[in-house]
Amino acid sequence: MNTETIHQTVTLRVARHNPEAGETKPHWETYTLTEVNPMDRVLDLLLRVKGEQSGSLAFRKSCAHGICGSDAMQINGRNRLACKTLVRELGNGPITVEPLKGLAVKKDLIVDMDPFFESYKSVMPYQVTTHEPSGRERLQSPEQHAKIDDQSKCIMCAACTTSCPSFWANDQFVGPAAVVQASRFLFDSRDEGNKERLEVLNDYTGVWRCRTVFNCVEACPQGIDITKHIGNVKKAILYGTTDFVPDESHAGHDHPH
């Protein structure tokens, strides 16, 4: 194997903030890291800073493989997962890392996710049925599943909601992630909770606050076509039914028609 890898020196700017220590404002700390491999991820850099330079640096991470959704943060002005962002994607300048916008900072890159999960809960993200369980699996055809396939890829990282100007302006807005989750159940052939769910989404703080800015779509690490799902939820409220969504056998992928 080729052991000759081009290494580079990277300047990492991190917004540090410790409200518990009485700091009222965040401040920038700059760390210089040598021997960085362009294939390193921003998460690797943060781990190195924590291990080598500043043990008090706080951030969340778990799987390190883009599936747990715990390390969404604003990297070079855009929300991304630190574990899915390679150094070489970010050009040659300094790398800037900040916590997600619009949620209170607990420490450094850790934000208070409670409001985010409250919004999630408000749209009833579980299957609602009216009839007795039959004791058997509830089956779906591939076509039926295609309507919720894209939405079920969501890893609840909050990158979308905290990239949304409507959410920054009003943190009562349920936000794109909650709408994606709502749509995952709204268009589920097995679910019967649409009436209540659509009421929540038709509220003053519901789906109408979407201004089709598309920051969420840019930010989503799962490539979910969020604005499409938001549009379908708007239509479901307008038409009073969810039957209008065409069967898309490749939901979430380009459809050559």
């Binding site: 916590p99 800015v213 380009d254």
Partner: protein, 135 residues
């Protein structure tokens, strides 16, 4: 405490949204000017004529052009948003649609600028110019 620090990147969708907001507010503000000026109708012809006298100034001409530009962009981008809301496949092309909106706006405004500004005889640097000449 809410955290808002560095700028979030501005991509097509957000620029489209900011322009939509700014042009929307501009049009509303003009509406107020327009209403106030119409109120002078109640005070007789002399007062009204004095009020609409500002229409004769070259800087008002510029303002009117800006108003039309705002209306043009706001309408075209409005159609883009309606398309996005109602036709689910169009979300993939929202950037292209915005470039189309911008191109159409520029073309329309260029035409309007020709009629309203280029052919306008009332500019202060024009020797024969006197306020109140309209083509």
């Amino acid at each position: 405490m809410r955290a808002l620090r560095g700028m979030y990147q501005l991509k097509e969708g957000q620029i489209a949204y900011i322009l939509h907001r700014v042009t929307g507010v501009a049009v509303i503000l003009f509406l107020f000017v327009h209403l106030v000026e119409n109120f002078f109708l109640l005070m007789g012809p002399a007062a009204y004529n004095a009020a609409i006298g500002i229409y004769d100034h070259w800087w008002f001409r510029l303002g009117e052009f800006a108003l039309i530009a705002a209306v043009v962009y706001h309408s075209l981008n409005g159609l883009r948003i309606i398309t996005i809301d109602f036709w689910q496949r169009s979300t993939k092309y929202h950037k292209q649609m915005w470039y189309a909106v911008m191109a159409l706006s520029v073309v329309t405004c260029a035409f309007v600028a020709y009629r309203m500004l280029w052919l306008y005889p009332g500019w202060p640097w024009m020797a024969h110019a006197s306020a109140g000449v309209a083509p």
